[in-house]
């Protein structure tokens, strides 16, 4: 199974990391969309399992969660979809989700089962390093890499402690806020990348509010090791629900534009 380490070592440009909610808008369409993203040049996938109360997400991802749940998505089907994706291509997969779903499944069993399905890491949006002890040992035991978030208001000493706990990459939040497309890249993000580069060698992948090829390019210029694009991509799904078959090609086209922008580096 391909690791983050191998992926970051091979790439000559920042990793392109699109985010999808598994099963959005339905199981089969979701698989076709994600396949198209892989073919168009995604280097790593960030995948969400829909939750009824996603407090870290803005309206676009909330709606995607609701669509996926309405389309019958659940934990068992999410695992099945991940296996199908991994059978299509061995691409690293990070899950981004909320703690209650893991807790109900049984933390150790969740990590073991999803590692076996082909997941490389699980980032829990509502679990900070203060409670990392609840998950770090079982994650390690399952062979998963660890990923935690750092935000522009994280103090430097705390950032160091977070970085020490990340074996995969640091999910670097570009702004103060929830997920969602933005016109402008946050002016907090360049200084944040610089601060983190000075304290850690762990790859720095930037997400939240990254919406255009220009945003991706400027993050690449600022030294990001990966760019995570979520809401802008999920919005393409939302805007084309009346013609689901057209979505994969539209997603592919957008991803190619991003890829081109970060390869210019």
């Amino acid at each position: 199974m391909k690791t983050y380490k191998q992926t970051f070592a091979e790439l000559k440009h920042p990793a392109l990391i699109p985010f999808f909610v598994l099963g959005d808008p339905d199981f089969d369409s979701s698989f076709e969309i994600i396949k198209a993203a892989i073919d168009a040049g995604a280097d790593i996938l960030e995948l969400g399992i829909a939750f009824s109360d996603p407090i870290a997400d803005g309206p676009t991802i909330q709606k995607a969660d609701i669509r996926a749940l309405a389309g019958g998505m659940n934990i068992a089907k999410a695992k099945e979809l991940i296996k199908k994706i991994k059978a299509y291509k061995d691409i690293p997969i990070g899950l981004l989700m909320y703690y209650n779903l893991i807790y109900q499944y049984g933390t150790e069993k969740f990590f073991a089962d999803f590692a076996a399905a082909g997941v490389n890491s699980i980032l829990i949006a509502d679990l900070s390093i203060d409670d990392a002890d609840e998950v770090s040992a079982p994650m390690k035991k399952a062979g998963l890499d660890t990923v935690f978030m750092i935000t522009p208001n994280t103090e430097i000493e705390r950032a160091k402690r977070i970085a020490e706990k990340c074996t995969g990459f640091i999910y670097t939040v570009s702004l103060l806020g929830v997920t969602g497309g933005r016109d402008q890249l946050s002016d907090m993000v360049r200084p944040l990348i610089a601060r983190l580069k000075a304290i850690t060698k762990v790859p720095i992948c930037v997400g939240f509010g990254v919406s255009t090829p220009q945003h991706a390019k400027s993050l690449a210029d600022a030294g990001a090791d990966g760019v995570i694009i979520g809401s802008r991509i999920v919005k393409i799904i939302e805007d084309n629900l009346n013609d689901k078959k057209s979505i994969p090609a539209k997603i592919a086209e957008f991803i190619k534009q991003i890829k081109q922008a970060i390869q210019l580096n």
Partner: protein
Amino acid sequence: MKNNGRFGQFGGFYVPEVLIPALEEMEAAFYKFYKDPQFVADLDTLYNDYAGRPTPLYYATRFSELVGFKVYIKREDLLHGGAHKVNNCLGQGLLAKYMKKTKIIAETGAGQHGLATSMVGALFGMQTKIFMGSIDVERQSVNVHKMRLCGAEVISVTGGTCTLKDAINEALRYWTSNVADTFYMFGTACGPHPYPTIVKHFQSCIGTEARKQCLEKIGKLPDIVTACVGGGSNAIGIFSAFVNDKNVKLVGVEPAGKGIATGKHAAPLNAGKVGILHGTKMYLMQDSDGQILDTESISAGLDYPGVGPEHCLLRDNKRAEYVAVEDDAVLEIFDIFTKCEGILPALESSHSLAWVYSQKNKLPADTVVIVNLSGRGDKDVDIVERNKIK
């Protein structure tokens, strides 16, 4: 954080990283000021002169005759704003002032916390935003109007079930984007640490007063103390003074809605499973995957899928007993109690009265029960009328 905010296995602070600095700041400020003589004196003045504390402990003569034992009512319904919520809002508002915050936000279900926050926002001259589920905006329109009169902006939340849980989701999201200058005035003894501790502290005046008043009036402690439990702030407020009095039985009353067996209720301590939502580990209404379930209760203020972490511990260690009563029993007691005593109880508080009524002629005549009448029922008159017509 100084403290891990745990009550046994419950509690904690399960929040996105971006909120950690704000919670740390709040925890530090709380521990710095809550015993500070100036802060304590300021809060006492506000409690007494603004809110109307201490509230009476009233012996309900006719209701006592009806049920066959002695019922005392802790009159939190007489407070300014009509409910216990003002205790917490004055405490947190003063804390916000000491922290030099100029903007406050809050979630609200029944609108009582939203109203108390709006009053305190006006009192301290702070810009106030209230997040409220669109269904609650409709069923508690009088409170919405009062909030706006106090100068607050009321934001109607349409996500999810359009009730309290969704209002909290939206308030948390807003706070995430505005953490630097905004104080989140959380309404109940739930949510991430330090809120359960802070809210309990500011509501503990209810129990401290009630215990003292009871000793003064009858020369002994009560046999039973009962309160309704949604998030659990009024209950933890009155329980806190009696927790160490081993012979005082504590009874929390959850909303059984249309009945526990129907699944249409909001009684996680009776029928939930341990899980994590809104920053805390607690008993929670959820399906087998961990998706949060819709709740149902005639009282908007109790319509929440989780419950404060300290109540979860009191349940597990059996120090308190948690029962549930259905909407029908609540409507019945609203009528009975009002006709008996000339006091309109809030539908929330009517839950604890309904449990007391269910004990009619079952307890010895010298039994002393204190009911925390957490709020007045004026806001519920329309709902009660509508449900009568049906």
